[in-house]
Amino acid sequence: MLYINCPHCGLRSQNEFAYGGDATVKRPELNKEISDQEWDNFVYLRKSPRGKHLELWHHISGCRQWIKVERDTSTHEIFKTYTANEAIE
């Protein structure tokens, strides 16, 4: 079981969190004219790399904050965790 350092609460066990997928996806702005391709990429395309990946986790049984976790998907090593809107290094 992973041990995730919530930037708001500290080290907590994985079972307090819900996985939220690829954190590098950016929603297109409202009212913006965009192509079908662009929209489809946003709705359906997600990165799933082997290795370092920036992911969303939701601390549902804790502070209810969405956080970003930089994790190695093959070794489960967690390098850094960020608040929702922190700049990613």
Partner: protein, 998 residues
């Protein structure tokens, strides 16, 4: 029966307490502290089971977790525990165990015929034998395999035992209380670390219990007792026996299984049977020790052939002789220690040593005791069927290829020692890639992957002096990283006998003209010939060889067989062992009972049960409950002999004619506050929200980004910057996460906060033509006229002294209101409604009547909003704004979502007006069409319309808009029904919606 093999005054069992137990129905005696194995051996019993494949007789091979043979089944008071290792299970008064893998009995086993048919059971026999014809699988092969396989039968009854889970944190977890575990625990504890020391056996000390050594002027046993007593007295130390750390998981989480009362007669009702510990450790020291390796020779699976270290432990710990004419077969000095122990107990052993002419302190001591030693000698084959009776022995050439002077000598046990294999399982599970140590012919852990270090013989260190010194250092180092106390204690002096090198020899060649089975894996009956065959057939990868032959795949996970198997593959392939590599070790290290894994989360405790504040009222009034997610909701209130159908019909009819009240506490409620709340709602919902006035509610639909409807519900503007959102019961948690996602990640610039208030409010829906009259009596000071509180209006008032919120909203399609009070006042509210409502013929109604009311009104719910429908499909397109943008809007332009013949919500009525249409039925044009019959859509919800007194259903069908008036068929292959139907509008009752506005 007398204990003929019990030594006087030797061992650690409690001679004061005699214990009786039953094995295969026969009564035996042992002493407190005995295992089943030691007690049976004391009684001269060595035949305990039959082997997995050939059903050959099985005895005892080891003395602990490595035991491959003595797997028994424990039966007690209708309880059944399969897969019990006789070497681990302690006896208690009344214990009953029996053999597995044998029928009709262990002494006469019909399956043993497999032994004589063994040419038909080669490596991979499952793959070869049971292939063709395919039709034989279910009727012949599978039942045969099921009958023949397995180590016991699981019970199909509910397990009444209590199992617990515990979560623990520590600075340092140490997995084993042998010399390295004790030394490191002591050093770390003295340096202020929070330490957990786990020992899988009942007694602490590991090899110190049986070795003739001296630490700090004390015997190994004395030193162990002193250290354990001191550790137990320290507040920063937890010491646990009968506790096996079996799994090493991510981020330094380890799981330990504690056997709390497996060794006790079950008299203490609330004492758990086992406890599973989830331990998050800053640092781990793996001190799991090592397991003696077998030597491989003919019929080396005969009962009476066992590990020499096991024979020694049976003597020293249990005071039990495994035989009175022992033959010791060894390639190293360990066998001599066992021989000396036999000699000290008045038994004359013979040592066969494969080495040419070794010399060491221990060998000299054995010689001085006049023990007969034959160098360059091997056991060719054990003789005897149910127990060793003699052995063919021979002199072996210096190159270990030729046998000379084969002779038969009498013996009643053969104690083998092929040197030691470090238990690297936990290190391997942690991700540590092991490396091969040529000096000991075994794998040891390599670089640490997590926060773990391996110490003592688990790390390939086999001298006590080195072990103790290294463990004291490691215990200090890892603890000091955490505590920084620099409190280092001095290492005690160690006295031990010096050993000399072992011989790399491990497998005795077959004499000319003989074809003895030489076993590698004792639990799965894998012999040398099976591995040879697998390699001849082209298997190369050790992982493939393992699966093809089943080497190392049994419940003992190859603890005694792995290395010899690798050795054989490397010999045949002319490789060295590290090139062959080893198979992956996975948790659990030892079998864990399913009960322990599940813990207390069984039956009603497997998930929480949510109840509304009015639950006890419903119970008192004959409510029949239904699960709604984790909520319990009244489905209907039973009167007299009513069933579901009659009761729900009565309740729904009363709503249409008088007034009904329904507990709607379970609806999701979310409080939304902030200056940007209106803007946020405008982005979340498909319809417009910017102009909703204070004191008004609005129905809204929200989509996922892919355009699919996510949820619906009403949201009310309580004040300028404060909204109250309701969601469906099922989607409440998802909607909250959805809102938080957008507020925290997508639009953090919006100044809005959301919080769930589902449990803060108790809700009652009052519906029916009499509901206004009832409301006037409940809130005499409130203007509840159609002008004062219009449809979708909101008011706050006082209900007999408690503050209440009144929403004029309707799910039933009738004139209706929803009253919310703080949860603590929910029961009071409900009683008042029932009391005052009496004169208006009020009746409570459950979810079944609620469904009926919404279905005949054509209101959609979860069965229509099923994760596949867009607003158009559910006839919600009128709520989709053309002007503004919102979540999921862009997806509605996708070509598949804009076709005009999409499936759409309609009503369905059976032509005969009597046959109910099963939910899930397909709507088809021609019931006799060739299969597959093209489906127009499906029936999503069905009810008995109380308005028209005939069945009515909702369906979502292709081009639904243009199908109204058509005569089609509803087909339910499951119920074997074909029903002629007419498609009608989904708004079956009050299509203009006059009642809700009346």
């Amino acid at each position: 029966m007398s204990q003929d093999f019990r030594l006087d005054n030797v061992g650690m069992v409690n001679r004061e307490k005699k214990i009786s137990f039953k094995f295969n129905g026969k009564k035996y005696f042992g002493f407190e502290g005995d295992t089943i194995a030691s007690a049976l051996i004391a009684n001269g019993v060595h035949l305990v089971g039959r082997s997995f494949k050939y059903h050959r007789p099985r005895g005892f091979f080891g003395v602990g977790v490595d035991e491959p043979y003595a797997i028994l089944q424990l039966d007690r008071n209708n309880e059944r525990d399969p897969n019990i290792r006789a070497t681990e299970q302690e006896i208690f008064e009344g214990l009953e165990v029996k053999s597995v893998n044998c029928w009709p009995s262990v002494n006469f086993d019909i399956g043993a015929i497999n032994n004589f048919l063994k040419m038909f059971f080669p490596a991979g026999f499952y793959y070869k034998t049971f292939m063709w014809p395919p039709s034989f699988w279910y009727k012949i092969y599978e039942p045969f395999i099921r009958m023949a396989a397995g180590f016991g039968e699981a019970s199909i009854k509910h397990d009444k035992e209590r199992y617990e889970h515990k979560y623990e944190y520590c600075d340092l977890l140490i997995t084993g209380s042998g010399p390295s575990g004790l030394a490191s625990a002591y050093a770390a504890a003295k340096n202020g670390a929070r330490v957990i020391l786990a020992e899988d056996k009942p007694r602490f000390g590991g090899s110190l219990l049986t070795s003739d050594v001296n630490i700090g002027n004390q015997t190994g046993v004395e030193w162990t007792e002193k250290i354990i007593a001191e550790l137990k007295s320290m507040p920063n130390v937890t010491v646990k026996n009968r506790s096996q750390v079996f799994g090493y998981y991510d981020h330094n989480m380890l799981v330990m299984s504690e056997r709390i009362s497996d060794h006790l007669p079950r008299t203490q009702k609330y004492l758990p049977k086992q406890r599973l510990w989830y331990i998050r450790a800053n640092e781990v020291l793996i001190s799991s020790g090592s397991i003696e390796r077998p030597l491989v020779f003919g019929n080396n699976d005969t009962p009476g052939v066992m590990l020499s270290s096991a024979a020694k432990e049976y003597m020293k710990v249990y005071g039990v002789l495994v035989g009175k004419k022992p033959l010791i077969f060894t390639n190293n000095d360990s066998g001599y220690e066992t021989a000396i122990e036999f000699k000290n107990n008045g038994v004359n052993p013979i040592i066969l040593d494969t080495r040419i002419n070794p010399s060491s302190d221990i060998i000299t001591e054995a010689k001085n005791l006049n023990i007969e030693i034959k160098f360059s000698y091997v056991v060719v084959a054990a003789k005897g069927y149910k127990k060793v009776k003699s052995a063919d022995i021979a002199k072996i050439s210096d190159d270990k290829k030729e046998l000379f002077n084969i002779e038969n000598i009498e013996c009643d046990c053969i104690c083998v020692s092929g040197f030691w294999t470090p238990s690297i399982h936990l290190a391997s599970q942690s991700g540590n890639k092991s490396k091969f140590n040529e000096k000991i012919d075994a794998f040891v852990p390599d670089k640490s992957k997590q926060q773990e270090n391996t110490i003592g013989s688990a790390n390939g260190i086999f001298t006590l002096e080195e072990t103790i010194k290294d463990a004291f250092d490691k215990g200090f180092d890892v603890s000091n990283k955490i505590t920084e106390k620099n409190n280092k204690i001095s290492v005690p002096t160690v006295v031990e006998k010096k050993s000399t090198d072992h011989d790399k020899f491990w497998c005795v060649p077959l004499p000319k003209g003989k074809s003895y089975k030489r076993f590698l894996d004792f639990q799965n009956d894998v012999a040398v010939s099976d591995i040879e065959l697998a390699l001849r057939e082209g298997f190369r990868s050790i992982e493939h060889v393992k699966r093809y032959t089943t080497l190392g795949m049994a419940t003992d996970q190859g603890k005694t067989s792995n290395l010899n198997g690798l050795q054989l593959v490397s010999d045949i392939e002319n490789k060295v062992v590290p090139q062959v590599g080893h198979t992956t070790f996975r948790p659990p290290y030892t079998p864990v009972s399913i009960g322990a894994i599940v813990g207390r989360e069984v039956g009603k405790h497997s998930k929480p049960t949510r109840k509304s504040p009015m639950h006890s009222w419903h119970e008192k009034n004959n409510a029949v409950f239904v699960d709604a997610g984790v909520w319990l909701r009244p489905r209907y209130y039973k009167q007299g002999n009513e069933g579901l159908f009659e009761a729900s019909k009565r309740e729904a009819k009363n709503v249409r004619q008088n007034v009904g009240v329904c507990d709607v506490t379970t609806l999701g409620k979310i409080d939304i506050k902030g200056p940007d709340a209106a803007e946020f709602l405008n982005r979340v919902y498909t319809n417009a929200w910017l102009k909703l006035p204070v004191g008004k509610a609005r129905y809204g639909v929200m989509l996922r980004e892919d355009g699919i409807v996510m949820d619906d519900g009403t949201t009310t503007r309580i004040s300028e910057n404060h909204y109250h959102m309701t969601t469906t019961t099922a989607q409440a948690a998802n909607v909250l996460s959805h809102l938080e996602y957008y507020l925290q990640l997508v639009w953090p610039e919006l100044n809005v906060n959301v919080v769930s208030t589902t449990e803060q409010w108790a809700g009652a829906a009052i519906a029916g033509p009499n509901s206004r009259k009832l409301l006037m009596r409940l809130f005499p000071n409130l203007d509840v006229s159609n002008e004062g509180l219009p449809f979708m209006g909101y008011k706050e008032s006082d209900l007999f002294g408690v503050s209440a919120k009144i929403y004029r909203i309707s799910f039933s399609g009738e004139l209706a209101y929803e009253i919310n009070v703080e949860s603590d006042n929910g029961y009071f509210m409900w009683e008042k409604i029932m009391e005052v409502g009496k004169e208006f013929q009020i009746q409570p109604y459950g979810t079944e009547a609620l469904s009926t009311l919404r279905i005949e009104m054509g209101h959609v719910a979860g069965s229509e909003l099923d994760g596949r429908t867009i607003p158009y499909d559910a006839s919600l397109e009128g709520l989709v704004s053309k002007k503004k943008d919102f979540i999921g809007k862009r997806s509605l332009n996708r070509s598949a979502f804009t076709t005009t013949d999409r499936e759409k919500l309609v009503g369905v009525v059976p032509i005969d007006k009597t046959t109910s249409i099963p939910e899930g039925s397909y709507i088809v044009k021609d019931p006799k069409a060739k299969l597959p019959n093209p489906k127009l859509g499906h029936v999503s919800a069905s009810c008995w319309s109380v308005e028209y007194d005939n069945p009515f259903s909702l369906a979502i069908i292709k081009d639904g808009k243009n199908m109204i008036g058509q005569k089609l068929f509803a087909m339910s292959p499951l119920k074997n029904k074909t029903i002629p139907v007419e498609i009608v509008s989904s708004h079956y009752v009050d299509p203009e919606g006059k009642r809700v506005r009346s």
